[in-house]
């Protein structure tokens, strides 16, 4: 992101009291911390172990994706090179797979004093190595920035199946897919519950497109909307667990709100136009949504009672899929530019727009990470639709899935 910093207006009095001087300075990007990750030393390799577990590679990927570090992978510990490159901190560790499980120790050191900043020891099964490495990545971010990282968060999205589309949950870096639906029907627009224990989505499993809630650990599924009309785009209030969604139950698509169990439905919008894609603000008090009430789809904000509706976007002919940043200051959305969708962000107050993607293909359905520093989205830039992560300023765009068919990503909370 190009951050335009108006640093100061300093007044220098020389001869005339009205004599002034403007100082304007621009700075690009956010300063990143340089960190080295040394390949973990393999101590023992037991008879049943493959040796494939490389937690340091997972950590390198996490730190790169976090947008906070310049990462320098190293084969061996080389403090001289580190000092030459002015690297401030480094990570090293060991792996022991001699006793069936994988035992690995990770240490974060100050590169100058070599003092230990933090260290962790994990004793896990082979298939849990990635998760343990993610935990250490989050610990590194916490130790160095005082804020918890997002390496253990997850993504819910739809994935093209043999006959329909299924809802699945992935690690934030695209690994470990777990299917929430496997019913050969079309399942769409998934969203997390605030406690990250359940997923709301639209499914045609009972022939009519209704909203469902599936608990990801038990698999228990509940139908939330009894009507036979189209109900879609659920989003849950982070404060009181109510659900806002779009429905055609009164003819055209309007926004409705209901309790988390599907009771107490209230209508929020009354326009004759198409209202869709609601998303709650982080304090749960406002809802952003798409409406074509003025002829073209634009982003609007209202409060969760349906009052004080105001238009947010005025640039572009087609703006949709708004997603509120966790800090509450920005909304990311998809905007049609020269025939394809690109991801943009807009300031809630002031309305400054920033276009983040410029690649060919459609870039759609943005969703912020819990720390507000990253945005997940789907893109067809490489052909089929895959998931990508970028920094919230548009830099460091990284593909995290391959094979295509991934759509409607939503990032979980921490």
């Amino acid at each position: 992101m190009l951050l335009l910093l108006l640093i100061a207006i300093s007044v220098i009095q020389v001869s005339s009291p009205a004599e002034e001087l403007f100082l304007e300075s621009t700075s690009s990007g956010i300063p990143k911390m340089d960190i080295a990750v040394v390949d973990f030393v393999r101590k023992n390799l037991g008879p049943g172990s493959t040796g494939a577990a490389k937690p340091h590679e997972v950590i390198v990927n996490d730190l790169k994706l976090s947008g906070r570090f310049n990462v320098f992978p190293m084969n061996t510990l080389d403090t001289v090179t580190m000092h030459k490159k002015n690297i401030a901190v480094f990570i090293e560790g060991t792996i022991d797979q001699s006793k069936g499980n994988t035992i690995f120790e990770c240490f974060l050191h100050d590169a100058y004093s070599l003092n230990l900043i933090t260290g962790k020891r994990f004793n896990v099964k082979d298939n849990a190595v990635r998760k343990a490495a993610h935990l250490f990545s989050d610990e590194v971010v916490y130790q160095l920035f005082g804020e918890k990282g997002i390496a253990t968060t997850k993504i819910v999205c739809t994935m093209r199946g043999p006959k329909g589309k299924d809802v699945c949950v992935l690690d934030y870096d695209g690994y470990n897919p777990v299917y929430i639906t496997r019913n050969n029907y079309i399942n769409l627009t998934p969203a997390w519950s605030p406690d990250n224990q359940a997923v709301y989505y639209t499914s045609y499993r009972d022939k009519t497109p209704a909203l469902y809630k599936t608990f990801i650990y038990t698999g228990q599924t509940v139908r939330l909307t009894p009507n036979a009309m189209l109900n879609f785009s659920p989003t849950s209030n982070p404060i009181d667990s109510r659900i806002a969604f779009a429905s055609t139950v009164h003819g055209n698509s309007e926004i409705y709100i209901m309790e988390g169990d599907g009771t107490d439905i209230a209508r929020l919008t009354f326009q004759g136009s198409i209202e869709s894609s609601p998303c709650f603000s982080p304090n749960g008090y406002e809802i952003t949504f798409t409406s074509d009430r003025t002829g073209s789809p634009q982003i609007y904000i209202m409060d969760s009672e349906g009052t004080n509706v105001r238009r947010l976007t005025f640039e572009g002919k087609y703006n949709a899929s708004p997603s509120w940043s966790p800090k509450g200051d920005k909304i990311a959305y998809q905007s049609m530019v020269e025939g394809v969708f690109n991801i943009c962000t807009i300031d809630i107050e002031g309305g400054a727009v920033q276009q983040l993607t410029t690649k060919s293909g459609n870039n759609e359905h943005p969703s912020f990470s819990a720390d507000g520093r990253l945005i997940m989205f789907s893109s067809t830039r490489a052909g089929a639709s895959d998931l990508y992560i970028m920094n919230a300023d548009g830099s460091n765009q990284t593909r995290i899935t391959t094979g295509g068919g991934y759509e409607f990503p939503e990032w979980s909370g921490r």
């Binding site: 004599e19 009354f270 349906g306 004080n308 005025f314 800090k327 107050e349």
Partner: protein, 256 residues
């Protein structure tokens, strides 16, 4: 006397017989006419029936036409309403572009002032101060909104109130008052919120925030379990701002 009575009775009977005979003859004549009239009536009836059928046909035709016209009018009206919305959207976009231009102009004015003042001329001082005030309100409003979004409601409320007090004539003055009320409302301090919303409605009756403030007043009454005032406020809202989104909300909630 009795003889006289008998005579009169006989005379009456004879008279009656004569009369009856006469009457029978008249009835025979009338029957023929009757038959003719009957035929005429039947013919007339047939005529009327025919007329009725054609009138009904015409009526049906008319109704069909009317329905078509009605449907056309509905489509036309819906198109008009849609177009009106599009035009209002365009207006909003123009307004947005104008504001953007105005901001640029303000910035340019400030720079111009600086350039001139450096050259020893400070005639634009007054204009610049006014321009800076406007920019400040927007910036400060943004800061207060960010505090609201960060759930720091007390801090945000103080900021909104201060802004409203310092810049009572600014375009954002009613917004500041409204958001100060929102800070109370979100904390479920309904009495305090009610007062603030009322001020928005009373002090800025033509402002944008009127309908939202009135609707929220109803919700405050609901929070205070005052159903009567809630319904009254919403009825007033429906009559005062009948085309607003909030009036629709109020209608839906009151069942009107």
């Amino acid at each position: 006397m009795k003889e006289n009575v008998k005579k009169i009775v006989l005379a009456a009977v004879a008279g009656a017989c004569l009369l009856t005979g006469c009457a029978g003859q008249v009835a025979v004549v009338n029957r023929a006419e009757w038959e003719q009239q009957k035929q005429e009536i039947a013919a007339l009836k047939a005529g009327i029936g025919g007329l009725q059928t054609s009138v009904e046909k015409l009526h049906d035709e008319e109704m069909k036409q009317l329905k078509l016209i009605n449907a056309d009018l509905r489509v036309l009206f819906s198109d008009l309403s849609r177009n009106l919305n599009v035009v209002s959207g365009k207006l909003e976009e123009n307004q947005y572009n104008l504001e953007k231009l105005s901001k640029t102009t303000t910035q340019l004015t400030e720079r111009k002032f600086v350039v001139r003042s450096v050259a020893g001329r400070d005639s634009l001082l007054q204009d610049t101060v006014v321009a800076e005030d406007k920019v400040d309100v927007q910036k400060l409003f943004k800061i207060a909104r960010e505090d609201f979004n960060a759930k720091d409601y007390e801090r945000a409320r103080k900021e909104f109130e201060e802004l409203n007090a310092k810049f009572p004539d600014d375009n954002l003055a009613d917004d500041c008052r409204y958001w100060a009320a929102e800070c109370y409302y979100v904390q479920k301090k309904y009495k305090e919120a009610l007062e603030q919303y009322r001020e928005v409605v009373e002090k800025y009756p033509t402002g944008d925030m009127g309908p939202a403030a009135m609707f929220k007043m109803g919700l405050c009454y609901k929070g205070l379990s005052d159903k009567k005032n809630m319904e009254k406020t919403w009825t007033d809202l429906i009559s005062k701002y009948p085309n607003s989104d909030e009036a629709m909300q109020a209608k839906a909630r009151t069942g009107n």
